[in-house]
C-alpha cells in the first residue's frame, strides 16, 4: 500500500532549490544569450549530450542529475533522443579528432535558438589531455560555445546550479579566458 500512497507525497530526500543556488558559480564564454531566449527555455529545456572523447566522468555526473536526489526533471529539463528536438547541446570531453564531424553535424542539426554548454575542464580547455595530437583542446575550437561549467568532473550540484542560472535571470560573471 505504501507503494501507492507515495504517489501523493514528495520524497523527503529531494534537494531544495535554495540549497542549489547557494553553490559555485558558472561563467559565460562567447555570445551572451538574449533575455527572450532565456524566457523561452525557462520552463522547458531539451538537452542533447555529446561525449566527444570524454572519460565518462562527466557523463556519470550528468546521469546523476536524473535521480531522485537532484531530480532535474522538476525544472522542466529533460534529455532528448535527437538534436532536432534539442535546445541545448552539452559537450563533454576534449573533442578527439574522430568526433569532430559528429559534433559539428550535431550542432548544425539543431534548430535555432540553441545554447552550447561545455561541461568539465576537458571540454573547456582540453583538461589533462591538453596539447595531445589526438584532441582539439576544448569544444570552443569546434563549435561556438556559450557557457562553461568548470570541474573535473563538476558535481551534479554545480551542473544543476549552472543550468538554473543559465535559464533564469541571475548575475553571471563574464569569464576572462575566451
Amino acid at each position: 500500500m505504501n507503494l501507492f500512497t507515495k504517489i501523493f507525497s514528495t520524497p523527503k530526500v529531494l534537494v531544495g532549490v535554495e540549497k542549489i543556488l547557494d553553490t559555485n558559480d558558472v561563467s559565460i564564454v562567447g555570445k551572451e544569450i538574449e533575455k527572450k531566449v532565456k524566457k523561452l527555455f525557462n520552463g522547458s529545456l531539451a538537452i542533447r549530450v555529446v561525449t566527444a572523447g570524454s572519460t565518462n566522468a562527466c557523463e556519470q555526473e550528468l546521469v546523476a542529475l536524473g535521480n531522485s536526489f537532484y531530480d532535474v526533471e522538476r525544472f522542466g529539463v529533460h534529455v532528448v533522443a535527437s538534436p532536432r528536438h534539442a535546445d541545448m547541446l552539452i559537450v563533454t570531453g576534449p573533442v578527439s579528432r574522430n568526433m569532430i564531424q559528429g559534433l559539428v553535424h550535431t550542432y548544425e542539426a539543431m534548430p535555432e535558438p540553441k545554447i552550447v554548454v561545455a561541461v568539465g575542464d576537458d571540454a573547456i580547455s582540453g583538461g589533462v589531455f591538453k596539447g595531445s595530437y589526438a584532441v582539439m583542446d576544448g569544444a570552443n575550437n569546434v563549435v561556438p560555445v556559450n557557457y562553461q561549467i568548470p570541474g573535473d568532473p563538476p558535481s551534479p550540484m554545480t551542473i544543476l546550479k549552472s543550468l538554473l542560472s543559465i535559464l533564469t535571470d541571475m548575475d553571471v560573471k563574464k569569464s576572462q579566458n575566451k
Partner: protein, 680 residues
C-alpha cells in the same frame, strides 16, 4: 447525336469502331505513328460510345437487346444488356477510354522495336471481346467471345516477345485460362443437358426441376472456371506472372476489368441462373474470399517487382469482392434478402472501385517504369522530386486501395464490413464464428494493405535515390498525366457519391432474379448512406471536414508561429557520412511481417561467401544473401495434384508395354466384350 447513342446503335457503333481500329492498325503496321494513332483513337471513341450507351441504361433502368448478326437457335448473337451487363460494360469502357488515352503516349517507346499494328489489332479486339463477354445472351456465343478475349490477352501478354520471361508467363496464362475454360464448358454442358437450350433467358426459367447435385456441380465448376479467370487462390498462379509481362496500359485493363468478367459470370450464375442456393455455396465463396485476400496481401508485401506487387493486390481485392458476394449468398440461402442485397451491393461497388484505383496504380507504375527502365522497387527512391505529379496521383491511388477515407476504397469496404456485421448479429453460432473470422480477415487485410502501400510509395518516391536509374527520370507526357488525373478525380468522386451510387447498385442487385424486386433497408441520399437504424456514413462530410479542419489548423498555427524560420540541412545521420544505404529498403520494410507470418510464407534464406583465398578462408571478398518465399498453394495444392497425375500416369503407362502379343490380346478382349454387349 447523343440520343442516337442511347439506342442499340450506340453499342453497335462502338463495336464497329473497335473492329475498324483493329483492322486499320494491322493494315498500316509499317508506319508506327499512324497505326498507334489509328488503333488508340478508335479505341477511345469506341469506349466513349459504349460508355454513353451503358450509362444511359444504368440511369434509365431500361434493359436493351441488341441483335448483332442473327437470331437463330444455334448461332444466336444477340446481346442482352440488362442492368448488370450495362454496369460491367460501363466499367470496361471507362477503363478502356482512359487507358487508351494513356496508351497514345505510352506506346511511343515501342516505336521501331515491336510491331505497333499487332498491338493495336489485339488491343481493340481485347476491349471489344470484353464488352461482348459481359453481354452475351447465348452460351455458345459466350464461349466464342470468351476464347477471343483469352487469345487476345495472351498475345498482348507476350507482346514484348524478346524477353524469355514474358513467353513463359504467356504460356502459363494460356494453359491456366484453358483449364478454366474447360470447367466453364463442363458447367455449360450440364446447363444445356438440364434445359436443352443455349439461351440464358430460357435456362433461367427452366431449372426448377433439376436435382441439387447437378446444380452443385454446375456451381462448383463455374466457380473453378471463372475463378481461374478472376484469380481466386489457388487458381491464381498465372496472374502474378502475366500481368507484369504485358504493356502497362494493357496490365491496367487486364487487372481492372478482365478479371472482373469472371466475377460477372459468377454473379450471373449464382444470382440469376441457378434458382436455389444452399448454404455451403456461400460458405465456400466466403472462405475463398478470406483466403484470397489474406494470402494476396501477404505475398504482395514480400514482392519487390513493381507490377507483380500490384497483381497480388488484384488477388487481394478479388478476395474482398468475394467476401461481399459470399455473405450475400449465405443470406440469400437463409432468406434474409435485405442483407443479401447489401452484400451484393458492396461486391459490385468494390468491383468498380478496384477497377478505377488499380488502373490508376498500374498507369502510375507504367509511367515510373517507362522513365527509369527498371521494375525493381529497390532501384527507385526520391522520384517525387523528378516526377511530382505522377507521385501525387500515385499517392491518391495508394490511399484509395488502402481503403482510407475520403476515397472510394473506403466506401465499398465500409459496406462490406456492414454486410458482415449483419451476419454476425443475426445468425446461429457456427455461421457467426465464420463471419467473425471473415471480419478479422478483412480487418487484417486492410491493415496489411496500408502497410504495403506505405512501403511502395515510400520506397519509390520518397527519400534519396537508391540507384543511378533514377537520375534519368523526368515527368511523363501530358496525355499520360491526364489519364492518371482523370482516374484520381473519378476515385474521389466515386467515394463522395457513395450514397447515390449505393442506390444505383441496389437497383442493379434487385434486378437479378433471385433478389427480384426486393426493396432493401437502405435509404441513401447524396449526402449519406443510411442502413435503416443500424449504421450511417457520410463521405462528403468527412471530406469537407478534413479540408476545413486542416485549413483552420494551418491558419491557427501560422498565427502562433509564423515568424519562425525554416532552414534546410542534411538528414540527421548520427554524425557520420550520409549514404544512400542508410535508407530503409523495401525488403527490409516488410521483413518483420514475413518473419511474423513465417508459418504461412515459409521464407528461406541462403548466404554465400566468397573468400580471397579459398584454402585459408580468413578474409571474405564478398558475401551474398538470397531471400525467397515458398508458395504455400504450390506446396499444398499443385504439388499433390502433380504427384497424383504422375503416379496415375506411371500406372497407366504399363498398358503400352511394347510387346505385340499384349496388343493382340487387347484387340481380342475388346472384340469379345463388344460381342457380349451386342448379343446380350
Amino acid at each position: 447525336m447523343i440520343n442516337f447513342l442511347f439506342t442499340s446503335f450506340g453499342l453497335l457503333s462502338s463495336l464497329g469502331l473497335f473492329v475498324v481500329g483493329a483492322v486499320s492498325a494491322l493494315l498500316f503496321n509499317k508506319h508506327d505513328k499512324l497505326s498507334n494513332w489509328l488503333g488508340n483513337l478508335s479505341a477511345i471513341f469506341g469506349s466513349l460510345f459504349a460508355l454513353i450507351f451503358s450509362g444511359n441504361i444504368l440511369i434509365s433502368k431500361v434493359p436493351q437487346t441488341v441483335v448483332l448478326i442473327s437470331n437463330s437457335q444455334l448461332f444466336n448473337t444477340t446481346l442482352r444488356v440488362d442492368l448488370l451487363s450495362a454496369f460491367f460494360i460501363f466499367v470496361v469502357s471507362l477503363l478502356g477510354l482512359l487507358c487508351s488515352i494513356y496508351g497514345l503516349s505510352y506506346v511511343k517507346h515501342y516505336y521501331s522495336k515491336y510491331n505497333l499494328g499487332v498491338l493495336g489489332f489485339f488491343y481493340n479486339l481485347f476491349i471489344a471481346s470484353m464488352i461482348l463477354v459481359v453481354s452475351a445472351s447465348n452460351m455458345l456465343s459466350f464461349l466464342i467471345v470468351w476464347e477471343i478475349m483469352s487469345l487476345a490477352s495472351y498475345f498482348l501478354v507476350i507482346y514484348e516477345h524478346r524477353d524469355e520471361e514474358n513467353i513463359k508467363a504467356g504460356f502459363l496464362y494460356f494453359i491456366m485460362t484453358h483449364i478454366g475454360t474447360a470447367f466453364i464448358i463442363l458447367s455449360f454442358l450440364l446447363l444445356y443437358r438440364e434445359t436443352s437450350s443455349l439461351d440464358f433467358e430460357i435456362i433461367k426459367n427452366n431449372l426448377t426441376n433439376s436435382s441439387s447435385l447437378i446444380q452443385s456441380i454446375i456451381f462448383i465448376s463455374a466457380l473453378v472456371g471463372f475463378g481461374t479467370k478472376a484469380g481466386i487462390i489457388p487458381f491464381h498462379i498465372w496472374l502474378p506472372k502475366a500481368h507484369p509481362a504485358a504493356p502497362s496500359h494493357v496490365s491496367a485493363l487486364m487487372s481492372g476489368v478482365m478479371i472482373k468478367t469472371g466475377i460477372y459470370m459468377l454473379v450471373r450464375i449464382a444470382f440469376d441462373v441457378l434458382p436455389t442456393t444452399p448454404l455451403w455455396w456461400g460458405v465456400l465463396v466466403l472462405v475463398a474470399g478470406a483466403v484470397s485476400s489474406l494470402l494476396g496481401v501477404l505475398y504482395a508485401l514480400s514482392e519487390h517487382d513493381f507490377k507483380r506487387l500490384l497483381a497480388y493486390h488484384s488477388i487481394e481485392n478479388i478476395g474482398i469482392i468475394l467476401l461481399g458476394m459470399g455473405s450475400s449468398l449465405i443470406f440469400l440461402s437463409l432468406g434474409m434478402k435485405s442483407l443479401a442485397v447489401l452484400g451484393l451491393l458492396a461486391a459490385l461497388y468494390h468491383t468498380i472501385n478496384h477497377a478505377v484505383f488499380k488502373a490508376l496504380l498500374f498507369l502510375g507504375a507504367g509511367a515510373v517504369i517507362s522513365k527509369t527502365h527498371t521494375r525493381n522497387i529497390e532501384d527507385y527512391g526520391g522520384l517525387i522530386k523528378y516526377m511530382p505529379r505522377t507521385a501525387f496521383f500515385f499517392l491518391i491511388g495508394s490511399m484509395a486501395i488502402s481503403a482510407l477515407p475520403p476515397f472510394n476504397g473506403f466506401a465499398s469496404e465500409w459496406l462490406t464490413f456492414q454486410s458482415m456485421f449483419g451476419g454476425v448479429a443475426s445468425l446461429g453460432s457456427l455461421t457467426k464464428l465464420l463471419f467473425i473470422l471473415a471480419i478479422g480477415a478483412l480487418a487484417f487485410t486492410s491493415g496489411l494493405a496500408v502497410m504495403c502501400f506505405v512501403k511502395v510509395f515510400g520506397a519509390t518516391f520518397l527519400a534519396r535515390p537508391r540507384s543511378s536509374h533514377v537520375k534519368e527520370a523526368s515527368e511523363v507526357s501530358i496525355l499520360m498525366q491526364f489519364s492518371m488525373a482523370a482516374l484520381s478525380l473519378i476515385a474521389l468522386t466515386l467515394g463522395l457519391l457513395a450514397g447515390w451510387l449505393s442506390n444505383i447498385f441496389s437497383g442493379i442487385a434487385i434486378s437479378l432474379r433471385n433478389l427480384n424486386n426486393f426493396v432493401p433497408d437502405i435509404s441513401s441520399t447524396i449526402q449519406s448512406i443510411n442502413l435503416n437504424g443500424t449504421a450511417a456514413m457520410s463521405m462528403p462530410t468527412v471530406f469537407v471536414l478534413m479540408i476545413v479542419v486542416t485549413a483552420v489548423i494551418g491558419i491557427l498555427i501560422y498565427i502562433v508561429s509564423g515568424k519562425q524560420k525554416v532552414t534546410h540541412n542534411i538528414t540527421w545521420d548520427c554524425g557520420t557520412n550520409l549514404t544512400p544505404r542508410m535508407e530503409i529498403t523495401a525488403t527490409g520494410f516488410s521483413r518483420s511481417v514475413i518473419t511474423i507470418f513465417k508459418g504461412i510464407l515459409r521464407p528461406t534464406q541462403q548466404t554465400g561467401v566468397e573468400y580471397r583465398d579459398a584454402n585459408l578462408r580468413y578474409f571474405p571478398k564478398s558475401s551474398s544473401i538470397h531471400f525467397e518465399l515458398k508458395d504455400i498453394y504450390s506446396i499444398f495444392f499443385y504439388k499433390p495434384v502433380q504427384e497424383l497425375f504422375l503416379r496415375v500416369s506411371e500406372k497407366t503407362k504399363k498398358i503400352q508395354s511394347g510387346n505385340i502379343n499384349f496388343y493382340i490380346m487387347y484387340i481380342f478382349l475388346v472384340l469379345i466384350g463388344l460381342l457380349l454387349i451386342f448379343v446380350m
